[in-house]
């Protein structure tokens, strides 16, 4: 079973590597969106410093949502998803492996770039760690919840926009706590509580979301 899961992860990473443009677009989208905000609200340093965590989090959220189209859609189109559903490994575990590979490719790069972008907003250097950590804990949760939405909207017309409508309300707690971590750190309160909550959300989502997504996949494929 471990062999099968490792096989799925390696397969997805290999596919992403051979089609790296898909990956780059998500990262570039993140960068562009973040850069749009100062253009929209003015370059006043104090204002930017205050909004930095929120802006980075909203941009990461949108980029994550954009990337969700790639989790199941391609496999559904060429029939590989069906094979996974008829495989010897429980579908929930296969989904967890796929979401993990998806996060490595679409979420982790955002986490790694975020400190650089935060500097654009003159965010205090000593707090970059909290910000990056909040994204590191939060983006997998976004991928996990998003996978449920992707599974529900598999193969539907207008799946992309519908997916956003379904998934954004569910993203709200993650956004609030995630952005709240860096904001609390910036105001001197320390972001520990939020980070711990994010960790709890990650564990909870990690345990239940793959299973819910598997149920949704079976419903969508019938």
């Amino acid at each position: 079973m471990i062999a099968a899961l490792r096989c799925v992860i390696v397969r997805d990473l290999r596919l992403a590597a051979r089609r790296s443009s898909d990956v780059m677009t998500v990262v570039l989208f993140f960068v562009i969106v973040v850069s749009l905000f100062p253009l929209g609200i003015g370059p006043e340093p104090k204002l930017l410093r205050t909004v930095a965590p929120g802006v980075l989090w909203v941009a990461a959220l949108l980029a994550s949502m954009l990337a969700l189209g790639r989790v199941f859609a391609a496999d559904h189109a060429d029939g590989t998803l069906e094979q996974m559903m008829l495989g010897a490994t429980p579908l929930g575990l296969v989904v967890a492996a796929k979401v993990f590979a998806h996060w490595l490719v679409s979420g982790l790069p955002l986490v790694l770039i975020s400190p650089v972008l935060a500097l654009q907003f003159d965010f205090p250097q000593e707090l970059l760690g909290v910000l990056a950590l909040s994204l590191a804990l939060g983006t997998p949760v976004l991928s996990l919840i998003g996978a449920i939405g992707a599974a529900l909207t598999l193969g539907l017309r207008g799946a992309g926009t519908l997916l956003s409508l379904l998934v954004l309300p569910l993203y709200v707690p993650v956004l609030i706590i995630g952005a709240g971590a860096a904001e609390a750190a910036a105001s001197g309160l320390g972001g520990h509580a939020q980070l711990l909550l994010l960790g709890a959300m990650l564990i909870f989502a990690g345990a239940f979301a793959p299973w819910a997504a598997a149920v949704a996949l079976r419903i969508s494929v019938e």
């Binding site: 379904l166 309300p169 709200v172 969508s220 019938e222």
Partner: protein
């Protein structure tokens, strides 16, 4: 309602029952709402702090309660449909969604009307109002998902999964929004800070809640009848009813 469930679990037998129940509950709703509004707008005393404007609470709070209650009921029927593979449960869940969304919208709209004279703005990012807004999005998501799926069976089951995931999230959303609200210089603008309840005020609100509840039952049952007719249009009983009614 301790009816023998299984007898009424097929659309054919439930259809006429739903019609009778809808009529009954509709009348009760008119009665209760009438009484509640009378109590709220004429009998209850003027509030010392907020004047007459607070009276909108008699619509706002029951509507908010209904919006949350209906979401839970919708998720419940969806869950039953998933677990026991019954067609009628899915139809009930689909029938509830628009009424739930309506009450959410009413709660938001009346919240706005309350905010303007009281706090001077049309919208406040109060924890409850913000949660209601997100609840509205959850309802819209459910309806949009069902509208996008042609196959009724897949639509019911997908909607059920979404509603169940949503129901788990609603307390999390409320909690996080409340935290967010208090963290950001705790808005002293709290619509939850209701004026200290005189007995008539509380009675008025409760009666309105019952009125809304009866209305919901009636509206949902009527909508469910339409859904039943549409889904089962190839069945004999549906054809007979349509011909009889025409």
């Amino acid at each position: 309602m301790s009816i023998n469930w299984f007898k009424y679990s097929s659309p054919q037998t439930f259809f006429p029952l739903a019609g009778k129940l809808a009529l009954g509950f509709g009348l009760l709703a008119l009665l209760a709402c009438g009484m509640g509004l009378y109590l709220g707008f004429f009998v209850a005393p003027t509030d010392a702090q907020q004047g007459e404007a607070y009276r909108i609470i008699f619509i706002h709070v029951p509507a908010a309660w209904m919006s949350m209650f209906l979401y839970v009921v919708m998720a419940f029927w969806g869950g039953i449909g998933l677990a026991f593979n019954t067609r009628l449960s899915g139809m009930m869940a689909s029938a509830i969604a628009p009424t739930g969304a309506l009450f959410t919208f009413i709660a938001l709209w009346t919240g706005s009307f309350w905010g303007k004279p009281t706090w001077g703005t049309w919208w406040v990012w109060d924890a409850r109002l913000t949660s209601e807004l997100i609840l509205l999005f959850l309802y819209f998501g459910f309806m949009a998902l069902q509208a996008s799926i042609d196959d009724p069976r897949r639509a019911d089951r997908a909607g059920a999964v979404l509603a169940l995931v949503g129901v788990v999230n609603v307390p999390i959303i409320y909690f996080s929004v409340k935290w967010w609200n208090t963290l950001h210089q705790g808005a002293s603008v709290s619509l939850t800070k209701a004026p200290s309840m005189a007995a008539t005020m509380l009675t008025g609100m409760l009666i309105m809640s019952f009125g809304f509840w009866f209305y919901s039952i009636a509206a949902v049952l009527l909508r469910a009848r339409c859904i039943m007719l549409e889904r089962e249009r190839s069945a004999d009983w549906a054809g007979q009813y349509a011909r009889g009614a025409a």
